[in-house]
């Protein structure tokens, strides 16, 4: 039992957001994992992000409390990762990752050096301030999206 997480300050909040990290034991990429759960997440109204920094996964899931609990239990039953640490769970009024049923960053070979640095920063920040880490992850997605747009525009 734990009192680390206080969920009572916003009773009846429509959403729950959960952030955990774990270490990978299988050579399973973030893309593979994110794609595997995308359909189910869309159906359950789950959004979020999955980062892989070397052998560390960092995942945020947000959605209706019941859906989040079910998704997290499924994650907890998966033994393809170890050292699962729940860093934050908080009620929320709105989504941070509403545009992504499960965004994934981390195993593309084309990561820019700036992106790599960002990922490393995020991993270090996770152990210090979970809430800010979640916000940084959103900024990272925005940066990736802007870059992709730029790439597409250049190509055009």
């Amino acid at each position: 039992m734990t009192e680390r997480f206080d969920l009572t300050d916003q009773p009846g909040a429509p959403l729950l957001r959960l952030f955990y990290t774990s270490s990978a034991i299988a050579r399973l990429g973030a893309r593979e994992l994110a794609l595997a759960c995308e359909k189910r997440n869309r159906e359950a109204g789950i959004t979020g992000v999955l980062l892989r920094v070397d052998a560390t996964y960092l995942q945020v899931i947000e959605g209706a409390p019941k859906a989040v609990a079910e998704t997290f239990e499924r994650i907890c039953c998966d033994l393809r990762h170890r050292n699962l640490a729940l860093l934050e769970i908080e009620p929320a009024d709105e989504r941070i990752f509403g545009d992504w049923s499960m965004a994934h960053v981390g195993d593309s070979e084309s990561l820019t050096i700036a992106l790599r640095d960002d990922l490393e920063d995020i991993r270090l920040l996770a152990g210090v301030n979970a809430h800010n880490t979640v916000l940084r992850m959103r900024q990272l997605l925005d940066a990736v999206r802007a870059r992709d747009l730029e790439v597409r525009n250049c190509a055009a």
Partner: protein, 683 residues
């Protein structure tokens, strides 16, 4: 022989065989239904009796009727409709009555009465039916001797059948009873037929058997068909019912072997599975591993978060265990928060250990239930068959011993059984018994480690230390017997024994010498502590100011409100409270503020490394500074070298304790030391 010749000559064999087949089928259904009726109670039983009676009655009647079709009458035959119908009614009503009587009791009177009724029913039906046959132009002569024989035979066989039935358990249709029913019907019919002679009157043309009267034939055909349908209906009903019973029996069996909450096999199913594998291991050496999984921390979750949450946790634990086990492994719930896994084909500890690792990993993850998070964990004990044993209860024992030892080592551990575990457990068992005895006999020694003033070297006090040397084992270190006493609930008693002894002995020392006595965290939570200390002070006469009680930070971690109240009441008695082992635990400054503490004791481990290790040195310095600013006395423990002493003294610790000053001394030695110190002062 005459009898059989007569039979063969007078009857059409095909129709006789058909009658026999219907008779056998009807009796089979009837016996099955009557067993069913006997197993029911109340109204349901009467419904089953009714159905049985209808089937049995129709069987008797249809058998008779079809057999009569096969009878070659020397003269034309017609049927009297009223008598024929009456015979059918007699058969049904009589059978209902017979079955109802049979279900009343399992005693002889019931089966005898019922058999008698049944036999008489067959006879009455037969002879009423026969009187409905009108043989044109012939005289019917009866051999009354044979009539009596037929009734006696039918009744005796029916009674035998019902007697047999009363002893059957009803799980299967009793074939013996079926045969006796058939025998009763057949014997009565053919003996009855043999008792009858048809003598054509003079002038009648004797032809082969012919039935005259279309009405009679139609009636006969209709009733025969309906009878067959009723027998069929009875058969369908009893089969459907049997299948339903089988299904509900299977469901009951499933319920008996599975845990209702988690759906896992239960303790009983586990016992069977283990026994089966053990037998295979014994016979062929087929290896398997037994893992017993015990949840850590489940009780506080269950008590603190509600039983509904606890139940949900158990359900999820069950599912997670199935995820952690390999496909085909046997996972069972064998107790409240205890589970077991059987791993087939696992011969060595490393393979079993890797499953145990997965179990511990998966159960160590949080459970998000509603908006609450439950964190539990698990320990696993492992035994291997056939390596450790092939006897199921020994395997369970071994795995339990391994579990016990893994739990002692901390949370989230697994342990494979080995023989040294048994020795350790045996030693502990013996020590526990000895400790209980010692607690009752107050069989503990107290030694005193001197404490000196760092600036003047003057003896200022002593820390009382408990010593226990059971006759069988020699001295047992406090680090072993104190936790044992805490677990066994003996620490309060032992603590008081030591306190009383120390206070009494301190009375013979100079007034300037203070006495420190340790309190276990368990004692702080004991509501009797304060009155106990007060009683000891009163009893021994030791001034409270001379007594200092040492507590550790762990004592303040749990229910700190209760701890605070207790400490405040102790201070109100006039005794001092000091914080022992400072620096090793959480060392939270808030403790020093909130609790009425007047002294900090710096743990020996820092003192040991202090002058050399920069880190330890800065800790010692920080604690000393803290003491100064918060107006707390500081004692440094574990001083072993002059360098340490110098370092500690230079940082402003008032009191010193350690082997450099003196080892712990017996009461006599310490008294001598006090006397020497007194003389020195006087000189």
């Amino acid at each position: 022989m005459h009898f059989f010749n007569h039979l063969l000559h007078d009857h059409d064999l095909a129709l006789i065989l058909l009658a026999a087949a219907i008779c056998a089928a009807g009796c089979y259904v009837g016996v099955g239904l009557s067993q069913r009726a006997a197993s029911e109670r109340g109204t349901a039983r009467w419904h089953w009796c009714f159905l049985t009676g209808i089937v049995a009655g129709c069987t008797i009647w249809a058998t008779h009727f079809i057999a009569m079709f096969g009878y070659r009458s020397p003269v034309p035959v017609s049927l009297d409709g009223v008598l024929t119908l009456l015979s059918a009614h007699i058969a049904v009503v009589g059978s209902c009555a017979a079955v109802a009587v049979a279900t009343l009791s399992r005693r002889l009177w019931a089966s005898a009465t019922s058999g008698l009724l049944f036999g008489l029913t067959i006879a009455a039906m037969h002879y009423t039916g026969m009187s409905g046959y009108v043989f044109a132009g012939a005289e019917v002569r009866w051999d009354y001797g044979l009539v009596v024989v037929s009734i006696a035979l039918g009744t005796a066989l029916a009674a035998a059948a019902n007697f047999r039935l009363s002893g059957s358990d009803g799980t299967k249709v009793d074939i013996g009873s079926v045969a006796l029913w058939v025998a009763a019907i057949v014997a009565l019919h053919f003996t009855g037929m043999a008792s009858m002679t048809i003598a054509p009157l003079a002038g009648t043309v004797v032809t082969d058997a012919t039935y005259s009267g279309v009405g009679g034939n139609a009636l006969a055909g209709a009733i025969a068909t309906i009878s067959l349908m009723i027998v069929g209906l009875g058969l369908t009903t009893s089969q459907t019912d049997r299948r339903q019973q089988l299904r509900s029996r299977l469901r009951l069996q499933h319920q008996a072997m599975h845990d209702a909450l988690t759906g896992l096999p239960n303790r009983r199913a586990f016992g069977r599975a283990l026994a089966k594998r053990s037998a295979a291991a014994e016979a062929t050496g087929a290896a398997f591993a037994l893992l017993v999984v015990d949840l850590d921390n489940f009780k506080p979750v269950n008590d603190g978060m509600g039983h509904a949450t606890g139940d949900e946790v158990l359900k999820r634990v069950a599912h997670r265990l199935e995820c952690a086990a390999r496909p085909g492994d046997f996972v069972a719930r064998v107790g409240g928060d205890e589970f077991a896994i059987l791993l087939d084909g696992v011969r060595d500890s490393s393979a079993a250990g890797s499953v145990a690792d997965r179990v511990i990993e998966i159960l160590g993850r949080p459970f998000l239930i509603g908006e609450q998070i439950a964190e539990i964990g698990a320990c696993v004990g492992i035994s291997l068959a056939p390596h450790h044993a092939t006897n199921p209860s020994r395997l369970v024992n071994h795995a339990d011993h391994a579990l016990y030892s893994s739990k002692r080592r901390g949370k989230g551990r697994w342990q494979v059984f080995d023989d040294t575990l048994l020795e350790a457990i045996e030693r502990r068992r013996v020590l526990e018994a000895a400790l209980r005895r010692a607690a009752v006999r107050e069989d503990f020694d107290v030694v005193y480690q001197p404490i000196v003033d760092s600036s003047t070297d003057e003896l200022v006090g002593a820390e009382a230390l408990a010593r226990w040397s059971p006759a069988t084992h020699g001295a047992v270190p406090p680090a072993e017997f104190i936790p044992m006493a805490e677990e066994l609930g003996l620490i309060g008693r032992i603590g008081m024994t030591v306190l009383r002894k120390a206070c009494r002995e301190a009375m013979s020392w100079p007034d300037s010498i203070k006495l420190s006595v340790n309190l276990s965290p368990v004692q702080i939570l004991d509501p009797r502590l304060v009155s106990g200390v007060a009683a000891v002070l009163h009893e021994t006469g030791l001034p409270p100011q001379r007594l200092e009680l040492e507590i550790t930070e762990t004592a303040l971690l749990g229910d700190d409100e209760l701890a605070l109240r207790t400490l405040n009441r102790l201070v109100a008695l006039g005794v001092n409270v000091s914080l022992d082992d400072f620096g090793t635990g959480y060392s939270s400054l808030s403790y020093l503020h909130r609790f009425p503490i007047s002294r900090i004791k710096i743990d020996g481990s820092f003192v040991n490394q202090a002058p050399v290790d920069a880190n330890s040195a800065s800790i010692v310095r920080a604690i000393a500074e803290l003491g100064k600013s918060m107006d707390l006395q500081i004692t440094a423990e574990g001083i072993e070298t002059a360098a340490q002493r110098e370092f500690i003294t230079s940082h402003g610790c008032q009191n010193l304790q350690g082997f450099l000053i003196s080892r712990p001394l017996s009461e006599a030695e310490f008294s001598d030391l006090c006397r020497a110190a007194g003389q020195e002062r006087a000189a």
